[in-house]
Symmetry: C2
Subunit: 337 residues, 2 copies
């Protein structure tokens, strides 16, 4: 049997907690027998959800928490004050070595701040980036950083490039991943001050297969495997990707349901269209890992349904099996960053 | 008859020059009899295109240029050296008062730099922003700035908010336009240093109907009429919008052509789907105006076909008729920015 992977899961985070979170956790342990979930949440509601399912009880351990950090709360304060929240307790299970990873659909700010404060950074990593995978025409790319560190500096982006490359190479099996820097034009002299300073550092680094600037327009087609960026721009790119996708899907559905004729047409194209549009489903890849911590922390969408929770828990297996953090430690401790 | 509007058009700019540009110009003067086009370009190729069409000759004046600024050229140098390029000559026609506006699908950098150097800024405007209109579920929004001024400062964004509001109110007829600031979360304390400094300035300005932060995810649904941002983030948002749209359309077309069954289905849904997806066609609104100059400069996509060129020329009519620049002068000269 494969090595056991223990994942603490925030049962209280996100718009669909605890129902979808509990179901996602149950499905994950049913699908992979080397996963054990520590489900952290309020006793009554979580147990009521658990009662609905049959599952291997010995691999789902309930951990009671009595507080919940809300999305709007200032993260630093929330992490400090709400010691008995599902996020703080879940992260503590990684910090004390009980678990390998933590998955939450809750407050992004609290998960990011808590990840750094409680789980802690790998020595040498200056800023742990949030690094979602997202679908492209060629498969998937990683956009790093998408929200952890606004106003980053050039050397942070160099570390992001290294961590992103390790992730793509080991988790997705992309050999010698192509690294691009998010920019507003293809030429080397384009961009803001941060991009101009970072560009030569990436270009000269022997650990990085740097292919130059990548415009946001070319990301969905798969222009690079790893796209490094400052978190503000990355977050804008990611959320625009999601927003356009959702809005277009809505319009397409409306168009297909418009009349009797279109409904018949819709029946004929349904499966083919569904297959094509699946490529734009961000939930396929599970949540976004916060890289560079002494343990894995995964932030999933606030709107996560059970499938995304399951995928997020399952991605923790490869992260452990591929020894991602050992590889990050090795690369980041090198002097050339 | 309505007031005459004279537009100089760069016949040599963009991927489809001069063919599509010439056709776009011809269609514009045919559709609107108060438009006169000054078509700037190389004699041979432009005249060969013009020979294909019937059009009112007195309203299309050919202006010969012998140089072309290429996309990759450093803009400042190109504007200085290539005095006989279509961009420099076209902009000079606005500077000397021959024309009201200039339209180009050529090098963004050269158009932006040339607009500021040759046409000149309105007194008081610190940074003229590039402000594309783009389609949303509610109609259209303006994203300002999308590429003219990277690393902008808070007072620039306040000016962008004012200019964008004037544009939306007068060109699109949106009463009291809702202004949002592009941000990575909805709360006031979110964002990078620029956003945090700008937020209170927008909030306290009586000329601006400020509704707070807008996440990129909510832009396609029409979350605000005017979205102010620093140019790097704005450009990323805009290009991601275009990239996802194009990629999804490609996938949808592929899915519809997959088999005999899907082709039949496609016939049944075609017109309804086309109508729905038209909302995502960025060429519908013509090019992006560079606001705050002593004349109108419009940058269209490098990939512009004739329809976008026509729409870009036609948008110059409302710009002049609505006295947009007088309104900008009035608002920007106020002390409160």
């Amino acid at each position: 049997m494969a090595e056991e992977v223990r994942v603490s899961v925030d049962a209280m985070g996100g718009d669909n907690a605890p129902g979808e979170i509990v179901l996602g956790a149950v499905n994950a342990i049913k699908a992979h027998e080397n996963i054990t979930v520590y489900l952290v949440g309020s006793k009554g509601p979580v147990e009521a959800e658990l009662a609905k399912y049959d599952y291997p009880k010995e691999r789902l351990i309930f951990v009671e928490s009595t507080e919940v950090i809300e999305t709007g709360e200032p993260p630093v304060m929330a992490i400090r004050k709400k010691r008995d929240s599902s996020i703080v307790k879940g992260l503590n299970l990684v910090h004390d070595g009980t678990c390998d990873a933590f998955v939450s659909a809750g407050s992004s700010g609290a998960v990011l701040v808590g990840g750094q404060f409680i789980v802690g950074r790998i020595k040498g990593v200056e800023r742990p980036p949030l690094a979602p995978l997202f679908p492209t025409q060629k498969g998937a790319s990683i956009l790093i950083d998408c929200g952890a560190n606004v106003d980053a500096r050039p050397n942070h982006l160099v570390q992001f490039a290294k961590m992103g490359s390790i992730y793509m190479e080991n988790i997705l099996g992309v050999k010698n991943p192509r690294v691009g820097i998010l920019n507003i034009g293809a030429e080397e002299e384009k961009g803001n001050a941060l991009v101009k300073e970072t560009y030569p550092l990436l270009k000269s680094n022997p650990d990085i297969n740097f292919i130059g600037s990548v415009e946001a327009r070319d990301i969905p087609a798969g222009a690079a495997d790893v796209i490094v960026c400052e978190a503000f721009a990355g977050n804008v790119a990611l959320k625009m990707y999601e927003g356009v996708g959702l809005t277009m899907l809505g319009e397409i559905k409306g168009a297909l349901m418009k009349s009797f004729k279109t409904k018949i047409g819709a029946l004929l194209i349904k499966s083919s269209l569904k297959e094509a549009l699946k490529k734009f489903d961000v939930s396929e890849y599970g949540g976004a890992p916060l890289l560079g911590l002494e343990g894995l922390v995964v932030k999933t969408h606030g709107s996560s349904k059970h499938k995304e929770i399951t995928n997020s828990i399952v991605q923790c297996i490869s992260f452990k099996e591929q020894h991602i953090n050992d590889k990050i430690k090795e690369k980041i401790s090198q002097k050339d960053n």
